[in-house]
Amino acid sequence: MTLVWSALAFWAAAWAVNAWLTRDAGRARHPVVRLAVPVIFGATILVVWELVVRGLQVPRVILPPPSMIWATFTTSLPMLWRDFVQTIVMGAMSGLAMGTLAALAVGILVDRYDGLRRGLMPVASFMAALPIVGTAPILVMWFGFGWQSKAAVVVLMVFFPMLVNVVAGLADTTAMQRDLMRTYGAGYWATLVKLRLPAALPFIFNGLKIASTLAMIGAIVAEFFGSPTQGIGFRISASNGQLAMDMVWSAILVGALAGTLVYGAIAMIEKRVTFWHPSQRG
């Protein structure tokens, strides 16, 4: 019980520190404070989790303490790395690349032909809202248990949100800009490459950010319907069956780290490529 009380005390103390750090608006803008406050909050959750689980003697099969998850994570790194390669690199990333390229190609076509746009776009924005992850059992049946079926699920999941963003982005030029291109004597392709694709980039990156999360979800959930004996989804469902919750959480940690890394990479490339856009200027 002491551990639980100390958890509560730690929570109160950390909250007081954060409240003190942010009370003054000037101090709250300091970069160190801006970093420290969320880190303190995250650390508090971990500490409280650890102390409460130990204090109340929560069974390991329900919720393991973070220290135990970390120990499992570090000791089974080689296995988790193979899971990461199987699910994220081979399944999610290849599917994301194929889906994005397909959406770009179809988006340019749709943008060129107005009839296609009016016919396809309502269908596409409808499809973008559907639970496409439900196609996973069908695609696993068609493409086998390997990474190909996961990539296929990911392609389907990312295609429609990307298409909607690409088409919206290609339409995001002003009449003045298009007129200027015309006075330069630029044809369709020159206008597309030099004006409209660059103008569409903020939308494309926005779509990519949504799509990268969807890609992870698709690749992991598809493994629940059948997979080789590695992969994050396989690890989660197999360890779940063995009630090895520390391994389940380690696999989830891999997924979380991968998701954050991919998102961060996309955000960084966006910053370098679309530096001219208002949202990127301080």
Partner: protein, 330 residues
């Protein structure tokens, strides 16, 4: 009279201008589906034709494995007839899926001995029964998640410590494939004795929570300094500012994120139904995939799609009603 004619005319062009291309695309998709059925099922169709004594071009199944599906179709054009009607096909054709949907809804409830007409309760094999299980978990989870999300957003807007400590994590959590945790939460809660609707609702609440928080914080912050100053000159307190300025300003943002949230809730519920086989559209899909019953998977998939469409439409309808009641342009 003139006005009415004008409106009628405009509606006519809207139908011609928007509905026709959409119908054309949908028809093209179905045509593509019917064409795709042939190469997808060709191996199974040829095998059964061979069993019935027909002469198939590469005569043994082993030789046929070496030939591509599309090549097989052109070698055996006279045998492709049963493609659209074979049982246990890899890709059932649209009318087979439609028949399965009919059989597992109306037919099952009205004519079967397990149906609602015979027993007074919904059959546990009907899509309606499984759809209601999924729908109720989705709606309960969505309401919990959206409610908590709005409350947290209000807290974040009024408390800088909360804003700076919670918001970065809320944004990071968006990049994490949260659905992957769903089966584990289900099993853990099952072990702890919590069963039925609640575990799935918790997952769908969790999924709808963050979009609502992020959208709502943005919405509550839309009033600019001038509007806030105006409220101050009227000596409005924090509560009045929240109630009369921030909340009305946030409504468009709220509904935009509610539409994302309800779609996410449905995905969460369906994934949550995978590990524990106690009904729901997700359980139907997994059962279909275990027993190779593709028509059942497709029927469940269409039911889920229909449910998503209805739920999003319902949120949109409430949005339009709210905007009209608030006097804005819908």
């Amino acid at each position: 009279m003139r006005v009415f004619e004008d409106q009628g005319h405009r509606r006519g062009t809207v139908v011609k201008g928007r509905l026709l291309p959409v119908l054309a695309v949908v028809a093209a998709l179905f045509a593509l589906w019917y064409v795709a059925v042939v190469p997808m099922n060709i191996r199974e169709v040829l095998s059964s034709a061979e069993r019935e004594g027909a002469v198939v071009t590469p005569s043994s199944a082993v030789e046929r494995q070496q030939v591509g599906r599309i090549a097989l179709v052109f070698m055996n054009l006279e045998h492709i007839g049963p493609s659209w009607s074979s049982d246990r096909s890899r890709l059932p054709s649209p009318h087979q899926v439609a028949r399965e949907i009919w059989a597992s809804t109306w037919d099952e409830e009205v004519n079967s001995r397990r149906g609602i007409v015979q027993t007074g309760s919904l059959s546990n094999r009907s899509l309606i029964h499984h759809g209601i299980i999924t729908l109720s978990a989705t709606v309960v989870g969505f309401l919990i998640g959206a409610g908590l999300g709005v409350l947290l957003a209000i807290g974040i807007v009024h408390n800088r410590a909360m804003d700076m400590s919670v918001m970065p994590w809320a944004i990071v959590s968006q990049t994490i494939p949260i659905v992957a945790i769903a089966p584990m939460i289900i099993v853990v809660l099952n072990a702890a004795g919590v069963q039925g609707l609640l575990p799935k609702a918790i997952i769908s609440a969790y999924l709808s929570f963050f979009p609502v928080v992020v959208g709502m914080v943005k919405g509550l912050r839309t009033p600019d300094a001038m509007q806030l100053d105006q409220m101050k000159t009227w000596s409005a307190g924090q509560g009045a500012v929240l109630w009369k300025l921030r909340l009305p300003a946030s409504v468009p943002y709220l509904f935009a994120s509610l539409k994302i949230a309800i779609a996410a809730s449905l995905v969460g519920t369906i994934v949550g139904e995978l590990p524990v086989q106690r009904g729901g559209l997700g359980a139907r899909m997994l059962a279909g995939s275990y027993y190779g019953n593709t028509e059942q998977i497709w029927a469940a998939l269409f039911a889920a799609a229909l449910m998503a469409a209805v739920l999003i439409w319902a949120v949109g309808w409430i949005e339009r009603r709210t905007m009209r009641a608030m006097g804005g342009q819908p």
